[in-house]
Amino acid sequence: MEIENKIWDKNECLSRDELSALQFRRLKDTLSRAGRVPYYREVFQQCGIDPSNINSLSDLKKIPFTNKSDLREHYPLGFLAVDRKDIARVHGSSGTTGKPTFVAYTEADRNLWADLCARFLTAGGLRREHMVQVAFGYGLFTGGFGLHYGIERVGASVVPVSAGNTPRQVMILQDLGADAIICTPSYALQIAEVIEEMKVDINSLNLKFGHFGGEPWTEDMRTRIEQQLNIKAFNNYGLSEIIGPGVSGECICRKGMHIQEDHFIVECIDPATGQEVAPGEYGELVFTSLTKEAMPIIRYRTRDISRIMYDGCECGRTTCRMDRIVGRSDDMLIIRGVNVFPSQIEEAILQVEGVAAHYLIEVDRPHNLDEVTVHVEMQPEFFSDKMSEMQAMRDRLLHEIRVIANISVKINLVAPRSMERSFGKAKRVIDRRVEKGIL
């Protein structure tokens, strides 16, 4: 299918000078809004920044990075820059402590969010006459709602199926005939598999394109999604701390995701030194919000590894583009789009009587969907001849991991002292997806 180029907002096509001027104006506003946050007020004092008196965009680099841990330390809403009564929405992402990291939106933020999603959806072919099936989860996760608002903003129709129940998902695709689908790329492949299992003729569906995000994926996955679903697949990127989906997305050229630079300043740094890398080189992405009200965020370290390209794009947008995410700068695992830290699994294991703190997390993607097996050592005194007691121990583990890490896993109980002991830092994660080159 041919998709025509269409640009949602003229701000996507500003000259560099115009863009810099706009960014500078907005940065000043953002810093003064951020000055209402006690954490940033202190940071500004320490580095000698007067938000009302910055001279250039490069002054931003005098401010230290904001880390996920800073957000966690100010749980739940310590980064709020507006009155609580002005919050229109709270979303969240998972954290290492079992508590989510909350992010807040004012009405204007939510409006902006809808616009940003409308931009990349438009860039990737969405028009008013289309119907879109949203198979992203609706909830604290920003994916479902963000895309939902973007589709509405474009004026297209939304079918908010949410994630899960794939046969039903397929049935609705058939019956309502959505033009586009929105979900994680791994779920798209799962849907494709079920379509095949159900012996549904792919040509009987009306699907033409899809927008996929929420987890890193590869060109190989794109090819498979496009072949199996007979669609054009577009990549988009976002994270709740910045705004959710809408930070960047692909245009029809699909040579990287255009970053909405009039609303976010992006930097790409060496994760080890914090120094900016040259354009086009891989590094960790760092974002500063320019227009968000409820939770302005300054130089947020995403831990996502990518690279930024500043050369022009045939689509006419002048914004820079980021490549797909190639990895994480720390050990965080992304399991079906959910951020999971090994420490969360550890915390969950420690909640359960009868198992030892010796464990190994094995991640694989055997059938297009991430699967996690947690191998856990049993404590000898808790071994029982009764299967019901053993199952109960396993069920408690499943439950705790579900609650704390927000993922479903398989549990493999192993005998005491059967797991490899290592000196120093134990190897806690085996990621077969990396070994197989999927990620």
Partner: protein
């Protein structure tokens, strides 16, 4: 009246079942009966042997995770309905059966069932009151 049973934890990996068997074979310990309870992820091998203390020591020495527990051996008629009559007695006595399996023996017209009861003492008195033969360790292991 209760019998000592050894349970061995088995990881779900090839060869894990033969390991404890090999240990007992090397020690010259005969397995009188066994049952295997398994899930996809792990299994529990339950054994009855004559010299359970020595068997447990040998298994543990070999690195097996072993638990001793008490079970009850009950004689049933080796005829259609024999087991059903026994279970009815247990049910009427309102005793919970955690699991059960058959004891392999070569005795005429009688079969022996091994039971793990929620409350073994109550189960024994309920059964004995109905004239059911609950076997002692000596009876059983002398088979």
């Amino acid at each position: 009246m209760k019998i000592n049973q050894l349970s061995v934890f088995l990881e779900n990996q090839p060869g894990r079942l033969s390991e404890p068997c090999a240990v007992l074979a090397r020690a010259g310990i005969n397995i009188l009966t066994l049952s295997l309870a398994d899930t996809q992820q792990f299994g529990i091998l339950r054994l009855i042997v004559k010299d359970w203390q020595r068997a447990q020591a040998e298994l543990e020495k070999a690195g097996c995770l072993v638990k001793r527990s008490e079970v009850v051996a009950v004689e049933v008629e080796d005829t259609p309905g024999g087991l059903e009559r026994l279970l009815t007695v247990i049910e009427e006595g309102k005793v919970n059966v955690e699991y059960m399996y058959a004891f392999s023996c070569r005795c005429q017209a009688k079969a022996i069932m091994i039971f793990c009861f929620g409350d073994p003492d109550k189960a024994i008195s309920v059964m004995q009151a109905k004239g059911i033969n609950v076997m002692s360790g000596g009876d059983l292991l002398g088979v």
